[in-house]
Symmetry: C2
Subunit: 409 residues, 2 copies
């Protein structure tokens, strides 16, 4: 059997306590025994990061981001050292590294740094020497030699970027779910695990509410065509490979559905129907770092128009403040916000070449008396905003309509 | 008032929780407001280090020392980041550094590294920019770019070494006691706090059982003549300055007494009285890293001699093993170990020039019917081994005999 270079990543719940660290350790060693070279990226144990953040907030509600990175980067340093110790105990060679030590070089934007490059000399030397290399995830060193962190879910990014830099054969993400499903299995009982999904589908599902992998990690995978294998660290079941193209000859058009209840709908009423006004609204919001998702401009009447869009719920206050200012300025009628909405989406790369998916989606919802308030489409997805209390029902009927309960991986 | 460069060190109990960190923060700012430049060395919060060690031992009873350093160095990184955040909140500028970042370069002996040099460029730059610099104590970076730690009490050493490297005006050690006393105040109620003590006296007291400052830190202070001011972080009372020479014109001969119950007496009986045998015993023990303290060779009879020495209690098993081997080899009679001993010592630089201290010491103990089992002397100290249950009584009578209850600082 051919020896492979594999990058594995274990999330916080996979190394949540001593027993789990030992289980992960056994898993790692079983791969090493097959002759594979292994670089293992590890998150902080359980809720360590949240606990450190909470401690910081007690001392300073607005801690400086550089110091925040000094603080929270310790979580992964701890878990990686412990994992190395567990491997030693089982008689295998291992060495742990912080992000700084292993040469994960980032820009200087603390708590949300981007990886610029990875210097792989040290890690390659240790791999060649036969050691299992353990890397503290979520962190790096800025070009100014400061400790940086990569933002929520950053260990996924560390793993994929490291796999790319090392030219690994595969990047495996071990998590607390068994893979990527056609829908959230907590809502749709007969959701099916997919054996394969494309990077684009994964990105689209993530953007529409599926929370399995960090989006930036999938983007890096797509950019460098590094296959990512998502599987459970608690079972031996097969997971899902995220890859460039599906290996199937024929594929189902829709591959998954997603639901999010984290957005709110904002409507600016009676906007004078002049060119450039929509652009101005969205420029101003962008300047305040508010990411707008769906935008709908209603049919105008008496030279007036209503502009609606959705924003993440935690940005409502900021959005209303900015919108109010603009509304006053351009003489708009007023602003309405509605938090009681849900967004349901259907996603699939096959939609590019297949017509009628939107029509099927809308008639399905109509048939079930679910009113659509907003619609937006991309090349490979259709999203509909519905009343919040109908969101789960909408997800269910769409899942069934597109035959996802009978899909074969 | 002239601005000074001060290095301060706060121990683990001084930063044990959020409230204590805030109190330390207020203290630091009060010094900064007087126009002083401050570099602050901080230990891990409360029992963090012990908790991390315990966690490691659960995973691997004999963890590799390099990984141990990766693990336990996080404690100081956390407390220094939190302290910087607390200072920011009060509107002052501060920046925290790990030992690696700040250029504390050590040898490669993990968990007990020695400081080789300190590169002060970065720290000087931040001090010049008006920032309070917070340094994670107890740690450094080896010449092989690995994270190292300096051993128990290592933050004291970080502080003194940093003060030397920066050419600071003073090194202040804030701890949970108010200074150096003529005896342990928990045993001798009327023990007096000394305003000044020499490096040599402090080293001698530490070696004889007084546990205020790390010995290596005092040695560095002595070597570079850096005065060390030991005081409480919980009160405003004056502490004790450890310095080269006492400022007094006349000084009391004995400056302190110390007691330790952590040693055991080992006797190798009926050793053939030939040259080189004692040397052989102590060489073999040294090779096993057993530090012997007092050595007494009893009067020989029939060309036989008894050799007794004391060792730390946690080295008894190892010592007995080595001694047994040697005893068999040289045809000695047998080995006796006695853990029920205490060692009481009187210390003072004035003893160099004053005779009769030993005599006074022995008669005092005799007067109180305390039998002396072993005696050893150095230039500035006399130590006597007595029965364990008489140790505290011996300490008390000697403290009184040498007038330490009436000493003036």
């Amino acid at each position: 059997m051919q020896s492979k270079l594999i990058v594995q990543k274990y999330g916080g719940s996979s190394v949540g306590d001593v027993g789990r660290i030992e289980r992960v350790c056994d898993k790692i060693i079983s791969y090493a025994k097959k002759g594979n070279k292994l670089a293992v990226v590890v998150s902080a144990m359980g809720d360590t990061t949240d606990e450190l953040i909470e401690l910081a907030k007690k001392i300073n509600p607005n801690p400086e981001e550089r110091e925040m990175d000094m603080l929270i980067s310790t979580g992964e340093q701890i878990s990686s050292a412990l994992l190395a110790m567990a491997i030693h105990k089982r008689g295998h060679e291992a060495i742990s590294f912080t992000g700084s030590q292993v040469g994960i070089i980032t820009d200087k934007y603390h708590t949300k740094a981007k990886i610029l490059k990875i210097e792989t000399d040290r890690i390659k030397k240790e791999l060649t020497a036969g050691k299992i290399v353990i890397v503290a995830g979520f962190q790096g060193k800025s070009t100014k030699s400061e400790i940086t962190t990569l933002g929520r879910g950053g260990s996924d990014l560390s793993a994929v970027a490291l796999a790319v830099a090392l030219g690994a054969d595969m990047c495996e993400i071990y998590t607390d779910v068994e893979g990527i499903y056609t829908a959230d299995p907590r809502i749709i009982k007969n959701a099916k695990k997919l054996s394969f999904i494309t990077f684009d589908e994964m990105l689209e599902l993530a953007a529409r509410g599926a929370q399995v992998m960090q989006t930036r990690a999938v983007e890096v995978g797509k950019k460098f065509n590094m296959p990512i294998y998502v599987k459970s660290s608690f079972s031996e079941k097969e997971g899902t490979v995220i890859m460039d193209k599906l290996p199937h000859i024929e594929e189902s058009v829709v591959r998954g559905v997603a639901l999010t209840e984290n957005e709110a709908k904002i409507t600016i009423c009676d906007v004078p129907d002049k060119p450039g006004i929509a652009a101005r609204i969205f420029n101003d919001l962008a300047r305040e770092s508010v990411n707008i998702d769906m935008i709908v401009q209603n049919v105008s009447h008496k030279k007036m128009t209503d502009i609606s869009f959705t924003v993440p719920k935690d940005k409502i206050a900021k959005t209303l403040k900015v919108s109010k200012k603009i509304a006053d300025n351009i003489g708009a009628g007023g602003i309405i916000s509605d938090e009681a909405i849900a967004k349901v989406s259907v996603v699939g790369v096959g939609m590019k070449s297949q017509s009628g998916v939107a029509a099927k989606c809308f008639s399905c919802l109509a048939k079930h008396k679910i009113n659509i308030e907003m619609i937006s489409t991309s090349e490979i997805s259709i999203s509909c905003v519905v009343k919040k209390d109908l969101g789960k029902e909408a997800l269910k009927v769409l899942h069934k309509e597109f035959g996802l309960d009978k899909i074969k991986g």
